[in-house]
Structures are given as structure tokens and as C-alpha cells.
Assembly symmetry: C2
Homo-oligomer: 375 residues x 2
């Protein structure tokens, strides 16, 4: 375990379970709650770093599995690390590759020591162990890195018991393997939808002394009520003076529900994936910009939005770009969607600091119409 | 014919036949020689207006044929015109739709009054006449608009004789049809590779009193020597106090050769099309960024280049984006390629003003290796 003072987490306000904080990293302070857009392959799809910065985004996630396969963590290291390679000079986070590897289904085989898997790109065989996952993430050089874990199907109790045991053993090995002092290694809590397993996992992982903790294995098929219940279980156990990161969650309503339950950090492909499927995210719900109703609409996506897209472009223009299959559509809608989540986080933070988070959340949830996932 | 003082062309320097000028338009001054990137469907592909501005580009071309079909010139007019629709507040130029319509081959039928054609999108039947081409361009609202012309295969003398006669009759009708005072209507010279037809066309078009003139029907299959010879013919006839626009030409060596022969304005899809095919344009030739040689290359495309892409990104990163099929590749390479042509034009202008254009052009052409077209 690396002892360091780099990664201070100061809770500057708490409103019931909702927290507003400052998490110090080598590439700048993260004001929490914070939403991280995803740059799977060392780029947030269709968005340049300067456009991303202009959305207000502060933290970017990249995927260890993808970068390991292409272009290779050694190449990224040779180019001075991920920040320099992709020219994002703010805080970055990499996942451990675990989730992607386990998602390969038939193309991977798990044992106590690690996972052997086939590349989705060329079918070549590779192996991740906890030590390898840490080594790759040290080569990439993100500010926040993740322990190698096993994400089990949420309703399979026996599988989750085994996965929790393995995740714990691997967390300890990652802990031991870490050699860089300028990266915060987060432990991950697993346990499916089973409160006792979540409790056991939160207690074990908390005891290892990580500078931050993640909740994994949620938003993978369970109900919203189950997701909320699991977060409530771990919230009471994880140390309050360290940041909590809910992996892979990014719908506006989920963000608000989970901030209310003590989560500080989120990431999700949703804003950029929806953008490539013509859906704009707003404070009141989603808009399918392909709809004919937008063809002659001179309004921006959201008249209250301050993003580059809304300050400049009409729905009619965005719909034209979509119909004409112009790449700029994905860029402009991605910019808007990321800004929507980033500004929602900023407003949530202000509400927590003002001691009015409940009112903020209730008002938001009353006005918001969740929709069926379009992707 | 609209008489207006809006479109002043001041030649501030001339070095043999090469000219440096200022062309005043309602959306700002164009410093000539100038290269216009092409925004076929109301967007320069993969580049946002602010990114485009940062390349130094001053003039943008859009295509009447494409915008007429989609989203429709009436919609663009309803949205306040093309500048506002696509958020380009600098000078714009639209072509007449003639070149695209004639390129439809079997899908169009020409008569003395105009052209009936089928949409490449849905096969629906449409008709362009000189009056219609002006009306559409008035709806779009570019600063510079073009007369409706017929572009014939370069080596067919009989066809070119008919096309020149038709182009002249249509130029007069466009002249008469123009109703807006804030657009400069340019006449177009045709004539294939036949000096006498070019001469006849330049004389006829010049006599109509347009505020600027274009040379059409070049870079369509003839040799470079023939292209240069045709420009030399019209250079001696077109009035020197009005700008000359060579349509559809944009390779660096062609720009230099044609500035030397008295051309002021150029447009071409080349920089953005090459970018989408992984080719970077430099002052010395093209680089295929997909080449394995770039995989570990920490240099920018061009160490002397000041564009956003070269100030930030390595060839290794650009190649990674290409291999990973990330949209950002097209954006970053397009930014670089446009900047390369824009900065080449700026340097050519400085050389003309300094009375050293021959030296500049000779040095450039000595160092430049033209390549086979990759698109």
C-alpha cells in the first residue's frame, strides 16, 4: 500500500447522506459530486479535448481493456502516459479491465489467479491478473486506478459469493502490487443484489485502507430499487472521509438518486452513446432530434443550456446534420449531453452546500420524465 | 444587374501575374489569394465552426444542389439564411448547382432552358433553370453566388461549343434574375481545353459586368499543362480589377501554379476528403498516417505547423485514432489539412506583397512532392 498525501478528500458540506467535497489529484482538484465522460479508446468519441474542457467536464475515464489491446499500454507509456497521449491535462481515471473482460462471456475463462480471454479485435489470447491490471494502469498513468474485480450476474447468489471472495483476494493483491505513489488505487465492492454480501464486501474492502472506494456490479440488470438498496447498505459502512465511486451509472435520475445515497463520483458512456443515436439529454428528459417535429424548430435543444451547441445551433440544424449523416451531429449532441450532466452535478453540489439538496432533488425528479433506454 | 459598392476588390500588390488583394463582402474582408474549405451540406465535414475559424479559414463554400435537396433552401431561409443556420459568420460562397447536376450523368437531361434531374437521395425529379439557381442561392444567402453554367467534358470540342453558348445565355439570365443587393454574382468562363473557346467565353462573360469571375470546367480530367494554359488565356482577358475564382482546385502545387497565373480564390474538398482517408497534407507532400512507421512516432504531423492538431497531438496518437476508427481522427486531420492550405495562401500573399512570389513559388515547388490522388 502506497501512503500518500496527494489524494486528500475534503467533505466541505453534507446534507443528510449527500456530500459535496474536493478530491485532490496530481492533475487538479475534483469538485464532487462529479460525472466523468468516458473516453474508451483514449478519446471521448467525437469530442476534442478543448471541446470537452468547454463542457465543464473535469474527470475523464478511459478503459484499460481497450487501451491494453490497442494501441497497447507500452506505447501509451512510451508517449509519456495517457494524459499526454490524448492531451487531457485534467484528472483521469482508468477502470481495471475487469468489467470488459467478464463481459466477453464465452471468450474468457476465470481462475483463482486471473482471467484468460480472447481479444474482441483479433481473437488473440491474453491474460489479466490483479498484478497485470495494476501494471497496465501504472503504464497508462491515470490519477485514479481501480482494483481488478469480478462482476457477477446480479441475481446469482452462489456466483456472487465466489465473485466477492475472489474480488477481495484480488483487491489485496492489487494493493500489494501498486508501485506508483502518484495514483490513487480504489477498491471495489461487489455482492450483486444481496445485502449481506454487499455488507461483507464493503467491510472487507474498507479495511484495506484504499484512498477511495467504488461500488461495482450495479446498473447491470437489477431494478432501480435494488440498486438504491445496495448503495444504502454500503453507504453506512464505507468510510465517510473517502470518496465513493459508482461505476457505469449516468442517467440524470440515477445520478440524483445516488448522490442522495452518498455517492461522489460517476462515469457512463450514456451521454456520448445517446448523442450518436440522435438523443439529447435535458433536465426534463430525452429528446429524439431525428423526430420530424424538430425539422423547422428554431430553438436550441434546451433554451436554458449554456453549452456551445445550445448557444449556437437550432434543433432544425441538428436534425439536418443527422439526416445528412454528418459527423458534426455526434460532436454537437455529445457536447450538449456531457454539459447537461456536468451542470447537473454542479447544481447538485451547490444545493448540498446550501443545505437544500432534498428540495433540489425532489424538484428535479418531479420535472424529469425517464424514458426507455434507446441504446 | 445589381449595382453595389459592397464588393470592392482592391489589388494591394501584384508580382508579375500573381495578385494580392482585399475583397470586401457583407460578412468581412477576404484577403486574397484565399482558399475556401467546402461545407457541402452546411458543415465542413467533422469540423465545428469554431474549430474552422481557428484554422484561419476565412471563406467557406456550400453546395446549392445538396442544400436544395436537403434540408431545402426554403428551410435555410426560414432559419435566417445559411450563415445563421450553420453558424459561420464569415464570408460564404455557394456554387450554382450546375456542376453537381451535370455530374449526375444518366440522371439528368439538359435543354436550352435548364436541366431536369433526379435526386441522388431519393430519385425524385427536379428542375434547375438559371432563374431557379439564382433564387435558391438568394434563399441561402451566401456573400458570393455563382451563375448557372454547363460544365462539358474537357476534350469534346463540339460539346464545349454548345456548353459555352448555353453558359453565356444562362449567365445573362442569371444576371437579370438577381434581386438581392448584398450578394456578389460571379460569371463563369467555360470552354474545355480549347483556347479559342476559353477566349471567346472570357470576353463574353467579362462584358456582362459581374463583380467577379470564375473559371469552370478545369481540374476535371485535363492535364496540368492544359489547365495552366487555359488559365493563362483567360488571365489576359478577364478584368484585372475584379477577383478571379478557380473552381474545385485545391492541391498545394495547383494553388501555387494558379496564383502565379492570376487566380485569387480557390475551393476544394481535397483537405477534408484526404483527412477522412488518413492523409495529411504538408508543405512537402502527403503523409499517410495509417502507415506503420507512424505507430511510435512522437512528432506532430508537421513540426513547423501551428494548427491545433500539430500543437497537441503525435502521429502515434493520430494513427491510433485511425486504427481504432475514432471520429476524432477525421476532425484533427481535417483541421490540420485546412490550416496547411490556409497558411500556404497567407505565405503566398506575403510573398506577392514583398515582390518575391517567384522565389517563394519555386522554392515551394522544388520541395514539394506531388502524389497520386488518394481519393
Amino acid at each position: 500500500m502506497i501512503k500518500t498525501n496527494l489524494f486528500q478528500f475534503n467533505r466541505i458540506a453534507q446534507d443528510k447522506r449527500a456530500r459535496a467535497g474536493v478530491f485532490t489529484t496530481p492533475h487538479g482538484d475534483l469538485l464532487t459530486p462529479v460525472f466523468a465522460p468516458v473516453g474508451t479508446q483514449a478519446t471521448v468519441k467525437a469530442v476534442s479535448p478543448d471541446q470537452l474542457r468547454a463542457t465543464g467536464a473535469s474527470l475523464v475515464l478511459s478503459n484499460t481493456y481497450h487501451l491494453y489491446l490497442r494501441p497497447g499500454a507500452d506505447l501509451v507509456a512510451e508517449m509519456g502516459g495517457l494524459h499526454r497521449f490524448m492531451q487531457w491535462d485534467g484528472p483521469m481515471l482508468t477502470d481495471s479491465g475487469g468489467f470488459q473482460v467478464f463481459s466477453l462471456a464465452d471468450m474468457r475463462k476465470i481462475d483463482a489467479d486471473g482471467v484468460t480471454f480472447k481479444s474482441h479485435i483479433d481473437g488473440s489470447t491474453h491474460r489479466f491478473t490483479p498484478e497485470k491490471a495494476v501494471q497496465i494502469q501504472e503504464d497508462l498513468g491515470a490519477d485514479i486506478i481501480m482494483a481488478f474485480d469480478e462482476c457477477a450476474p446480479p441475481y446469482d447468489r452462489e456466483y456472487n459469493q465466489r465473485a466477492v471472495a475472489r474480488t477481495h483476494a484480488w483487491a489485496e493483491r492489487c494493493h500489494t502490487a501498486q508501485s506508483r505513489r502518484d495514483q490513487a488505487l480504489f477498491g471495489i465492492v461487489q455482492g450483486g443484489v444481496f445485502p449481506d454480501l454487499r455488507e461483507q464486501s464493503a467491510e472487507f474492502i474498507s479495511a484495506l485502507g484504499f484512498p477511495g472506494h467504488a461500488v461495482g456490479g450495479l446498473s447491470v440488470g437489477e431494478t432501480k430499487a435494488e440498486m438504491h438498496a445496495m448503495i444504502e447498505v454500503v453507504d453506512t459502512i464505507l468510510p465517510e472521509d473517502k470518496p465513493r465511486y459508482l461505476m457505469g451509472v449516468g442517467s440524470p435520475e440515477d445520478l440524483i438518486h445516488c448522490i442522495r445515497r452518498g455517492i461522489d463520483i460517476f462515469d457512463c458512456v450514456l451521454p456520448t452513446r445517446l448523442a450518436r443515436h440522435q438523443a439529447a439529454m435535458t433536465r426534463t428528459g430525452r429528446i429524439n432530434l431525428m423526430n420530424a417535429a424538430n425539422a423547422h424548430d428554431p430553438r436550441p435543444i434546451d433554451e436554458a443550456c449554456a453549452c456551445y451547441t445550445c448557444r449556437h445551433f437550432t434543433r432544425a440544424y441538428l436534425r439536418h446534420l443527422i439526416v445528412a449523416k454528418e459527423m458534426l451531429a455526434a460532436t454537437l449532441i455529445s457536447i450538449h449531453n456531457i454539459h447537461t450532466l456536468v451542470s447537473l452535478m454542479n447544481d447538485a453540489r451547490e444545493a448540498i452546500i446550501a443545505g437544500q439538496f432534498d428540495h433540489f432533488a425532489d424538484t428535479f425528479l418531479t420535472n424529469y420524465t425517464p424514458q426507455a433506454k434507446t441504446s
